[in-house]
């Protein structure tokens, strides 16, 4: 079988990783395209319509999640396979990834054989119908598919960061997430924003859901609690 006609778009800000994956996929005969950030990825994807896009989650400019959203918004790319690259054990990334319509995730460190077999399995797959179940907590429901939160069946829309922050906090109700947890999971380990940014997002969520859903543990962080 020949893979020549199968286009795979690789997206990562680390040239080393890009090169490494490119090498291994070309060896398998795939038609490999490269992008070094989310914006470029979206652009190339629209032009080339690849079968599969492998996206690093953590990237400057536009991260993988956002890029994925943009890609999914494009009609021609609605059913393109998208796999995320994540660091080992970063379950939240996986979660967020699936939220925006990822089909699979591949965890770093990447090993050649695993990479190729994973890709083959993905390409073999015909239907993609894994709906992320909506999460129900108290009188609110968080629907990861539509990026909507319902409070008493009333839909409230959240911008991306707010949604991801709320999503993180509600992933383990009652548990305190430190500012560091929040920063690295919502913003990524390499993107550095000030601490006040978190406060502001918390405030916006509180404005929409009420002051009492998110509790402040001074000196530690925040937690979602019903």
């Amino acid at each position: 079988m020949t893979n020549e006609s199968i286009k795979i778009l690789l997206v990562d800000d680390e040239p080393d990783i890009l090169e490494f994956m490119e090498y291994n996929l070309k060896k398998e005969g795939y038609n490999v395209l490269l992008a070094k950030n989310g914006a470029e990825a979206v652009e190339i994807a629209k032009r080339e319509i690849p079968q599969l896009i492998i996206l690093d989650i953590m990237m400057p400019e536009m991260d993988g999640i956002e890029a994925c959203r943009r890609i999914r918004e494009t009609k021609e790319l609605e059913h393109v396979l998208i796999a995320f690259l994540t660091a080992r054990n970063e379950e939240y990334s996986q979660l967020a990834g699936f939220d925006v319509g990822a089909d699979d995730y591949i965890s770093k460190p990447i090993k050649p054989r695993i990479l190729t077999s994973r890709i083959k399995a993905l390409l073999r797959r015909t239907s993609f119908n894994q709906e992320t179940p909506a999460v129900q907590i108290g009188n609110m429901r968080i629907d990861r598919d539509s990026y909507l939160v319902y409070k008493n069946d009333e839909p409230i829309s959240f911008p991306r960061k707010e949604f991801e922050l709320l999503s993180l906090l509600t992933s383990k109700p009652g548990r305190v997430f430190t500012r560091e947890d929040i920063l690295s999971r919502v913003w990524g380990s390499e993107i550095v924003v000030g601490d006040r940014t978190i406060d502001v997002h918390i405030r916006k969520i509180r404005e929409k859901l009420g002051d009492d859903v998110i509790k402040t543990i001074k000196g530690i962080g925040y937690k979602f609690d019903i």
Copy 2:
């Protein structure tokens, strides 16, 4: 500070790089160990069992790959996190590094913020998902995940220092902690506060939980006892 107990072993033959990383990690409160080649690294690692080892790939004597292999062969170090330092164009080093069991790589040039946030992300992988089980003592339960203490199922919130102090005392019920123990473990060895500060915190805890949970051993310290 909580990072004090986290040992990080830095391995590089370039004294400048070593010093640079040491400076940045010490600033974060980590317990930093240094080695200038692979052989030394293996030796120190076996003795100190650090949580994380950052290895330069290119080194005289014994290179990073070989050192990594030796480290992984040691049972006690099997699950230690290992990150490689790579230069931009060492594209194959990744492959080799991951094959011998590396967890991540950090590419040069090293930027302080990226270094530290990367390290935090790495360390979180091992520590995040293991939930600290709540401790039950008598009619009270101490839940580190939610920063709450329950007395007869009734939640009582504690500010950080009080919580940490109570947490320390309850870590070994019945055992007496000297004022020195308390100071160094709750306040850290560098920050110096007066002895009365401890008394005040003890008092605040007693106000919330009742006078009898913490006993004073005059001239020695305090103990938690039901």
